[in-house]
């Protein structure tokens, strides 16, 4: 999907923060990306690397933490992990949003859609 937009925004955040820290170099950018954010991690990493060329972030390591999906049930209040299963007939992964406690589909997403720049490692 919009990996280029997300990468550009992540790079802006990292560069702004490194400027505040009077950093000479960014050594690591750590991101939290939810499994339900529909982001291709490979694409995201590629574009961040490209956007950092010619900046103090050129050559930085990128660490992506995968945040598993979690839903909360509107009927019984239970929280359940979102299991992502391969469906061989459809050739894609299907997240299951049902409540694991009572089986209701009436749930809302609690976690798994995050896109955060968590930390940066800088050299001053």
């Amino acid at each position: 999907m919009h990996e280029v937009t997300v990468a550009q925004s992540a790079v802006n955040i990292a560069l702004e923060e490194s400027e505040k820290q009077s950093a000479k170099k960014i050594l690591l950018i750590e991101l939290d990306i939810g499994n339900l954010a529909l982001i291709s991690k490979e694409q995201l990493e590629f574009w961040i690397t490209e956007f950092l060329r010619g900046t103090i972030g050129e050559g930085t390591k990128i660490k992506i933490n995968h945040i598993p999906g979690k839903v909360k049930c509107r009927d019984c209040g239970a929280e359940s992990p979102v299991e992502v299963s391969e469906d061989p007939s459809l050739h894609f992964t299907v997240p299951k949003f049902e409540c694991s406690s009572c089986g209701s589909p009436n749930t809302f997403i609690l976690e798994g859609r995050e896109m955060f720049v968590k930390t940066i490692r800088v050299e001053r």
Partner: protein, 218 residues
Amino acid sequence: MHKVSDVKVEQDILRINKRIASENRELFDSNKITAFNVMGAIGSGKTCMIERAIEELKDRYTIAVLAGDVVAKYDSDRFSAHGVKSIPVSTGKECHLDAHFIEHAIDHLDLSSTDILFIENVGNLICPSDFDLGEHKKVVIVSVSEGDDIVLKHPVIFKNADLTIVNKVDIAEYVGASAEKMVKDSKTCGCDMVLSTSCKNGDGVDEWIQFIVDSMER
């Protein structure tokens, strides 16, 4: 000596969009506007469904439309022909609307006299799901000609929709799709309210109108 340190950032990558979306929503609320973000694939019937609503409701409410598309003029002209204010929001190569587009487009509207704002998003089932525009209700329109596995291929947009409309049910048999499966899949994805419609022959349009009216009683 170089000093290396880890700095906590904890910044949401979409923070700017979320901030502008909240500002848009506050503006809508203060003007007593109910805003609908109408999403769906290219050709699913978004424009037609909004036109139906305009015809049914324009005598009772003041309606405005933000027509989002890569080239927005054509849909916007269709809305204007119904006698409502329509602003074309051409996105160029952007595959979705974001809150910033809306912030600028609503400058061209008389908000204080508007009751209902329809925002027609760019035809896409993926990207719009991440970009809050400041709307009150998210509507996803999907048509049987997209194939009856389309819902399960894009579960997140349906999961977060307040209403799913399965459109063009009158041609389901000709395109070999099961409208019933699409309704069931939408519910499995967690969208409780699902309508089967044919914008062309009017099936289910009354329920769509009722959803809009009910949504205004916030």
